[in-house]
Symmetry: C2
Amino acid sequence: MYFDTASLTYDARGLIPAIAQDAHSGEVLMMAWMNADAVALTLQTGRVTYWSRSRQAFWIKGETSGHTQRLIELRVDCDRDCLLLKIEQVGPACHTNRRSCFYTVVEEGGEKVVMAPEAD
Amino acid sequence: MYFDTASLTYDARGLIPAIAQDAHSGEVLMMAWMNADAVALTLQTGRVTYWSRSRQAFWIKGETSGHTQRLIELRVDCDRDCLLLKIEQVGPACHTNRRSCFYTVVEEGGEKVVMAPEAD
């Protein structure tokens, strides 16, 4: 799919935040970053591809773990500086093997982990 | 509610991204930024308070528009560098008067606006 990635607004590092949401359940699974080429690759391949800030390399989600993300729909926000990816997630999205990276609730008296790691 | 805001990871500007999700429908409404004090204020008051990068000031969501966000639950992600806010949204979340800022779908042949502004 052709899309003018230059129409998006990137930060000083050339990155834009991308929120991954389960296309069916609506659960927010993770947030990671893309550069313009990662956006283009994601749209071209349908496989969600982030930019790894630590490795400074493309991060084809699930390439090593098998926990891939298939793009169902990509949305841009009003300021064109954030992306919402509606996806189909294979297995857990989080590197801790949990469905979502947002498994810790801040509450009175401390924090509570509300999600268990999935079985391998 | 006491929470050690220094336990979060902020970027070079001292900010952390915060995703606002409708606590009931699961719809992702917007993404904005908080600094440590905005996180503390949000937890103390239950009124979602961001940090405005353009104004360099607290942004108590809805203070002028009336379109407030009441915090239901705050979650941190595995890396502690992103927040997920489950909220109750009064009126539209977006400054365009739409329910969500993510009203534009990127698709073959262009972009499609899938949400109309709400009536005043």
